[in-house]
Symmetry: C2
Subunit: 206 residues, 2 copies
DNA sequence: CTTTGCGATCTACAGTGTAGAGATCTACAG
DNA sequence: CTGTAGATCTCTACACTGTAGATCGCAAAG
């Protein structure tokens, strides 16, 4: 990757962070780099390629977390927490991680780190790729839902939401009224989810 | 919802199914409805509103699956399978389900069905909303990954992918070489994942 | 020196979402 | 029946998008 390409991706990511994904136009990126729009094309094949580059950049931010701790569960937790941190740093661009497949070196390395953790945990070889997909799907989905509002939209003002319905159309919502009205600690929720998933992994131990 | 709005959403969804999300322009939708572009606006506040309408439409397709079976595990499985079916029918538009929060009546009813299944399973009230989010996040993420290529891009040609790396950079990939080269049965994988998740739910039984 | 090739620029084009002004039609009040 | 209000639709126009194509300057290679 050339310096220029990195510079372009940095500018695009900064624009997305500040003004949303829709504000990332070739013209806006070019202006931020201090160059004409068409000058981007030697370094970025197309706008789609630029967005794929953003996916790489975010995955690269994730990688350092995959190396450190010795305990497999701690390593998985560190990866999960770091992914959420990436999502908070780049909420608008984060959606791309679920929309655009990536097979760049950094993506493969991140996957490998999870494979290794599962092997260390004693998961049999034939289950490892599937369980990795289960974990990464959940963690990506959670972080994306958190920043793009899928979670909070549903929980904001739960009382008003319930009020629109006949009681017997949303019986469970009424039964859970007390719990649903409480504030949610997303850090705690994520950790609880990780605990549940770790229990799945432990069940595969021989 | 007026007939006209439904007709517009149907046209938009059909275009997305046939030619991808990018082909869904106000002009294209209008032409398919047999009307001028600006004639859409009395029924659809904006293009964003139109896309939100697509989310509703897809959730409405999901709802029938929430009613039938008596056994809670069967009900959850039916919902999951139906969601995957929706994803296969509308692969391009399905991405919107993870990108745009939805709190329409149908969305609340679907959530309520999952709440009810978890209550029937004996999950304590205080865990139900969180576990529902865990499940829906995974299932939405899985179906989206399946149709938009996040899974298949990573698994296509795994041999070639490994070859780009030094062995010690992706040690787990090499250890798992045999498993990674096998074809994947996505139906079986999804069912295995559901089994794992059901085990989480059962662990909460009192 | 010339030649090659790459990065940057400028212009241009087809396509986008939608604001704003009018036209047309339906339904109801007098 | 006429008059009017309101909704739906059409037309035009505007600012903006991604990028094809031609051109220019400059650094390295022969």
């Amino acid at each position: 990757m050339t310096d220029r390409r990195r510079q372009i991706l940095d500018a695009a990511l900064a624009i997305a962070d500040e003004n949303g994904l829709a504000a990332v136009s070739m013209r806006a990126v070019a202006q931020r780099v201090g160059v004409t729009p068409m000058a981007l094309y030697p370094h970025v094949r197309s706008k789609a390629d630029l967005l794929d580059g953003l996916v790489d950049r975010m995955l690269a931010e994730l990688l350092p977390a995959s190396a450190s701790p010795a305990d497999w569960a701690a390593r998985l937790a560190a990866l999960g927490h770091e992914l959420r941190a990436v999502a908070r740093r780049h909420p608008a661009a984060f959606t791309l991680l679920l929309a655009r497949p990536s097979v760049t070196p950094d993506a493969v390395r991140a996957t490998d780190a999870v494979y290794q953790a599962l092997l260390d945990a004693g998961v049999p070889d034939e289950h490892v790729p599937r369980v990795e997909r289960l974990l990464s799907t959940f963690v990506l989905g959670f972080a994306a839902s958190e920043v793009n509002g899928r979670f909070s939209a549903g929980t904001r003002n739960p009382r008003a939401r319930r009020a629109q319905f006949d009681e017997d159309q949303v019986r469970a919502h009424h039964r859970l009224a007390k719990v649903l009205d409480e504030d949610i600690d997303w850090d705690a929720e994520f950790d609880a989810d990780l605990d549940d998933l770790v229990r799945i992994i432990e069940a595969y131990r021989r």
